[in-house]
Amino acid sequence: MNDDSPLTALASYFALLSLFAIGGAVAAIPEMHRVAVDAMHWMNDRQFTDSFAIAQLSPGPNVMIVTLIGYHVAGFAGAAVATAAMCGPTCIVAYFAAHTWNRFKMARWRIALQAALVPVSLGLIGASAFVLARAADKTIAAGVITVATVVVAVFTRISPLWLFAAAGLLGMTGWL
């Protein structure tokens, strides 16, 4: 496999991202968008937001957007390589952390580290919201759907699936 192979690019990029994805897969969305759309031109804005929507619609972890990007770039092998690279390094870290974490329950460094990372993740998830909204809301009608979803999700406990269903139906009419 040479260095120009898309599989090498997927593997090395997602393995690196795996270790920097503080706050989970959603917090890494802006970085995925920056690389997949802006830097590597693996996909366009629409294909990226479609992938995110499909990952949200599918059962299972949000990290599935990585599988979709991998498939888009290099088919079945791409899907497998991207997913494995995104999960592998962090799984190894998690495995070793599982045994040592509770030993440091009261350690000052652990308390400080946890407190430090909460606002960082929040900023990253906020950035993710911003990047997704900017990519998805190309029309005023789409922006209205986004705002309506925010209001419903903040003030009610309606399942996201109903919001997706309603938004999908509105989209089907072709107004967006």
């Binding site: 998805a136 997706f164 967006l176």
Partner: protein
């Protein structure tokens, strides 16, 4: 790995098969993220863990880099049955969704350009973005309740990644040590999730 055994007779210890099936069920029932379903399954239905233990492992999974629920499957599996437990929980969580999403990816590659499908997806994308905004608002409320370094760090992380579009590793390498130093010296302003 004695944690589970020590925490009282009401807790049950699952077999590897049960562990696998539980994470398959969590994966397949979780829309828009699987962690809430993991909690329901492990703490409320199966009683494999107390709520406190779950919160501990949950905090660890969130704090580690990488997909949170994936980390959780490894941490929990490792607690129950070491490396075998971690592997079984991970495969249970990732296997079925991976198959489903791959099928969808194939369909999308064939039919993604159909006009009606792209209309439906643009509606859903708009709603999906709204859900992440809502998630941000809910998380920001306790943090922004008082003015202090956590709010400032969150704003800098947001601006760096969303507006200036710096690479994530760069933002983290600069910001994480600063945040850690602030948390170390000014723990008063610390906000609990």
């Amino acid at each position: 790995m004695t944690d589970v055994a020590e925490s009282g007779p009401t807790l049950v210890r699952p077999s590897l098969g049960e562990l696998f099936m539980a994470f398959v069920a969590v994966a397949l029932s979780g829309f828009g993220g699987a962690l809430p379903w993991a909690r329901r399954m492990i703490v409320e239905r199966k009683r494999w863990m107390t709520a406190e233990e779950f919160n501990e492992d949950f905090a660890l999974s969130q704090f580690l880099p990488g997909p949170n629920v994936v980390n959780f499957s490894v941490v929990f599996g490792a607690r129950i049955a070491g490396a075998a437990g971690a592997a079984v929980a991970f495969v249970g969580l990732m296997g079925p969704p991976l198959l489903i999403v791959t099928v969808i990816a194939v369909l999308y590659a064939h039919y993604g350009d159909l006009e009606v499908l792209s209309h439906i997806l643009s509606g859903i994308s708009a709603a999906a973005a709204g859900l992440i905004i809502a998630m941000t608002i809910k998380m920001a409320k306790p943090l922004f309740a008082r003015i202090g370094w956590p709010a400032a760090i969150a704003i800098v992380a947001f601006v760096g990644v969303a507006i200036v579009r710096w690479p994530l590793p760069l933002v983290l390498v600069v910001l994480a040590p600063i945040a850690f130093a602030l948390a170390w010296f000014y723990p008063v302003g610390t906000v609990k999730r």
